[in-house]
Chain length 643, copies 2
């Protein structure tokens, strides 16, 4: 199909896999957008929690960011090791499965899948939210914009990993470059001004404090800041998507992503403090994002400010791309183990896991539609899944080292154990602080999805058991079947079907249903046109079954005859021949009854395994062709029999 080639690109051969792989630079934008975009909303989320404490919030911003960065570093080191230990690509699912058992692995996978789906909806919605607040005229088109971006992301990813990566490289590096420059300038000015730089555009005054800082508030701010950490998992699942040698490339990419992210996070936190920027109430008319206030304070409201803001918006919108790169891979891995439909493992024309991409698009599109394009309410649910997966993955790595018993493993064990404990505690903090805001929903969905996957797995196992051979196959001499041939008329199609029936079996049973609409005198035609030929060919006379049909049904009496025959012959296979006219155009099919199709479907669905269905098609408007072909067959036959 040419148009599919145009839209999705030409099909790629499996052997072209290597050329579709990505290097470090596009790798950062394929697998890192989710993590990097965190710099735009992580600090914001933490500082928003601190609004009630007023200027005191300025004191806690940096410590919280450092705490988040430490956890991030631990997670990074752990995944670095995972990449080396599983060079075929393995995220929390594989690590947890191999070291803690398949149930733990499945739990991690479910958590990650939920996290990725939420990430798509929340990322796109956040980006569109920012666009809409910049251009309020677009407000009525919020949902439409969200869905358009979703469609664009799905499309790019269906075109292939490399194309998606290359397309997203410019915005990624524009974002990193702009924000990095702002931070550099800001830090330089702070240092040269003795810690109190003059803001180019002064941030709004700090809000009045009407609460004391408490441990609860601090933990809430920390939990909010932890949303910055989602998406770090992606690289380890996608090792196989990197250019040769994949492991060093993947590790380098992960290092880049996390390194840049930590620098950005700490840079932002530092400048926020030195310029005295406090968060503004979201949804209030004075609302302005932290990054916007910071950039204004450092470089003023010039052209550079606008470029930076555009880059931030782009990266927020595209952060969903990480989910598109990783979700299908997670699904693939799970499907290979039989916990999801097997079709998730099939690579489409562009060597991507098409079904995973489509499912992610549908799920996140449904979320966007349900929440009308504004997914603020989903943000608290975010990060629950990620931290559950982190914890299971770290714990798995601890077991991995313990099992491996390599020299010098103590430090690895220690590091992963610290990681497991740290992310585990963070998971609990996130759950507890966000429970009322909706994290409980995730705690309900996780077991639901988990059980669903177990059901699929049980079904696959059952089928595999049913189909398994207990040893070599058993091939006795071919068994004569009973051939059942339902006929309404004696015509060329019937002739052909009869020939095939005789080549299947000597025991042919012709079934004819007699009802008021029977157009012809079947028994007479049979006697005239068929019986002499059978005698002449010295074939066994078929048994003729004439069925009465008081209620004018044709299929039903034929089927009940077949069921009876099957019951009466428990030791035989039965071949039911179904002669069928095939029209050259679909609309002609209205001119014929659909008995053949109905009979085939019912026999397939309801028949026992001993019933075999033989379709005998007759293509209309191929008469001459067929004539010639059959003539050739019968002309050559004697010659062949002689040889």
């Amino acid at each position: 199909m040419r148009w599919l080639d145009l839209v999705l690109g030409r099909p790629l051969a499996s052997s072209e896999d290597k050329e579709e792989r990505v290097g470090v630079i596009p790798g950062v934008s394929v697998f890192g957008l989710d993590a990097l975009s965190s710099a735009a909303y992580g600090p914001e989320a933490a500082l928003t929690v601190l609004i009630p404490v007023g200027t005191a919030g300025l004191l806690f911003g940096l410590p919280i960011t450092i705490a988040v960065s430490v956890i991030l570093a631990i997670v990074y080191l752990s995944y670095r090791q995972t990449i080396a230990a599983y060079p075929n690509g393995a995220g929390s699912y594989t690590v947890a499965k191999e070291n803690l058992g398949s149930r733990a692995g499945l739990l991690a996978a479910v958590a990650l899948m939920i996290d990725y789906t939420l990430n798509v909806a929340v990322g796109i919605s956040a980006g569109v939210g920012a666009i809409v607040s910049a251009a309020p005229g677009l407000q009525p088109y919020t949902l439409l914009l969200c869905l358009a971006i979703l469609a664009a992301l799905a499309y790019m990813n269906l075109r292939g990993l490399r194309e998606a990566g290359l397309a997203f490289v410019p915005p990624t590096y524009l974002f990193v470059g702009c924000l990095g420059l702002v931070i550099l300038i800001g830090v330089f000015r702070t240092l040269t001004s003795g810690g109190h730089p003059q803001a180019a555009v002064a941030p709004p005054p700090a809000p009045q404090a009407h609460e004391q800082i408490t441990l609860w508030l601090f933990l809430k701010a920390f939990a909010a800041g932890c949303t910055a950490m989602t998406g770090v998992e992606a690289v380890s699942n996608g090792v196989q998507a990197f250019k040769e040698p994949p492991v060093p490339s993947a590790r380098k990419t992960l290092t880049f992503i996390v390194g840049i992210l930590i620098l950005l996070l700490i840079g932002v936190a530092f400048l926020v403090r030195s310029y005295g920027i406090t968060a503004t109430e979201p949804g209030s008319p004075q609302y302005q994002s932290i990054l916007s206030m910071m950039t204004q304070a450092v470089v003023g409201r010039g052209i550079f400010y606008y470029i930076t803001m555009v880059a931030v918006l782009l990266v927020l919108c595209l952060s969903a791309n990480t989910s598109f790169a990783d979700f299908p891979r997670v699904c693939r891995t799970i499907a290979q183990d039989g916990y999801l439909p097997y079709s998730f493992t099939v690579r489409g024309r562009r060597l991507v896991f098409t079904e995973g991409i489509l499912v992610l698009t549908v799920l996140s599109g449904a979320l966007l539609i349900c929440f009308n394009g504004v997914t603020d309410k989903l943000i608290p649910l975010f990060a629950v899944g990620a931290f559950l997966a982190f914890t299971l993955s770290q714990a798995g790595m601890v077991m991995h080292w313990l099992k491996l018993k390599q020299p010098g493993m103590t430090s690895s064990v220690a590091m992963n154990a610290i990681g497991a404990i740290a992310t585990g505690i963070t998971f609990l903090i996130v759950i507890v602080t966000k429970f009322h805001e909706g994290a409980w929903v995730v705690l309900l969905v996780i077991p639901g999805l988990y059980l669903f996957m177990l059901t699929i797995h049980r079904h696959y196992t059952q089928i595999a058991e049913e189909l398994a051979l207990s040893g070599p196959v058993d091939l006795p001499q071919p068994l004569p079947m009973i051939a059942v041939l339902p006929l309404m008329n004696v015509n060329s199609l019937a002739e052909r079907a009869l020939r095939i029936a005789y080549s299947l079996s000597d025991e042919v049973k012709v079934v004819h249903v007699q009802c008021e609409n029977s157009p012809s005198d079947f028994p007479r035609e049979w006697d005239e046109n068929v019986r002499p030929a059978i005698t002449e060919a010295k074939l066994a006379e078929p048994e003729m079954i004439i069925l009465e049909s008081p209620y004018r049904h044709v299929v039903a009496p034929t089927l009940s005859y077949i069921w009876r025959l099957e019951k009466d012959n428990p030791d035989r296979s039965i071949a039911v021949l179904i002669p069928q006219l095939i029209e050259s155009h679909w609309y002609y099919s209205f001119l014929h009854n659909q008995r053949a199709a109905i009979m085939r479907t019912v026999l397939l669905m309801k028949g026992l395994n001993r019933i075999v269905i033989v379709n005998v098609p007759w293509h209309i408007e191929k008469r001459e062709k067929v004539r010639q072909a059959t003539k050739q067959i019968w002309d050559k036959l004697p010659a062949r029999l002689d040889n």
Copy 2:
């Protein structure tokens, strides 16, 4: 299915046909509602045309009605003879076909079908219009009411002829009784008062005359009055629906219908004149129907007036029923000759022609929806079809008598010739006077439908030719086929398919597509589990075809192999075995690829006639059953071979 029994009634056996037939009394309401309801709108239509001539209209009402009645009487006499001449039921179609050729017959049939479809829409819409003008609160629900009545009519007719007849008897006779009583009283009062009775409620004053009576206006009024004549055809098509002996019953019914109709028409015209009633402008606030003014004038606005009006409304709504009784029969007759899909000839569970009823419901429902329940614009189109059919039918009867050459046929010939000329002229008058109002649409639709039916007929003829045997069937010795067996794995399903392949042919070709997702090492498994069994059973080794699939397709390479095989063996039949897992529940099918279904469909549609498709189903969750069954087969086999 119990619920279908509940809704539509238990299925009726073909032998119960006799009990479903109707006598004269219900016959009048089954086949006569269309004609009888004409008394309500025929005079109205004629008098409305005469509004511009003011009181002069009073002079012309009666002559026009008498002219219409004369034509009606001629048509009646003609159909009476048709009933006797064609005791199996025959309308214009059969009469014209048998005597004027099949083209003329088809033209009559097309005209009638259009007329019947319009009748349903116009009848229901007129009834609902009257209801709505009585209860203006229902105005917004006009279309809904129309569709509800349509659905009720369709439902009653699907339940069977007898049930529909019995249900519609009370309103029919209520209408005839009430209107007859009003006319009797009115005529009595007119005669006793010397021709100038005192009106109980005086009719509104006659409109100002602002036109002279012209021949054109007179003809228009006559053409409008002729709408009263549609539906007379119905009885002659439905002779077989009457109780034994059908011909006298049908003739008696027709006599009843036409007799009552003529009495009502002339009675109304007489009273309209003696009470000085003129039509009111439709759509004006003063609008009141002729029947309403007449009933008021005769009996006053009491309870009897309201009963009469309700009866009129009911009969208008139900007049569509005649179409439901006759349209399916016309379709059946045409379909039997191959001009409509053959399924129109099949009688459903209640011995009615289900498909005709459904098609009529859909077509007239579409008309109602297109015109939003107000079909005034369709009224001019009405009667065009009916008069074309009448003319053809009368002309056909003339030929019939001439061919028959019975003694005393002169009077018959003369009468039918007069009828043909009279209805032919009426047809021309209707066409000419109503051309601008929309009759041209009918003149376009008739040839369109006509060509459509010819196309269907040509297609059926072509197929019949293709399928016709040129003589006795040709049955050479069974031909060894090539059995092609596509396999992905070696499992129990493959084992079963292989057994069947060997019972079909010694020449088995196993096709395996190798692509990245192939879960198993097929050639190795084959060597281990299958090859020894083949050797042991002394069977011919199957040819193993391993196909590479760089683009990860499975169906496409298999199919192209089959096409190649077919081309390379122009003298062989090829049996393609398709092993298929059948799940116990449809939703499980998401867990499997649909390759078997796709392959079967493509082979059926695109394969040549030499390809036969053999479905080898494997029903999941029937393992134990199957085990036992196969065990029995193979256990008993040696014993059988010994005998």
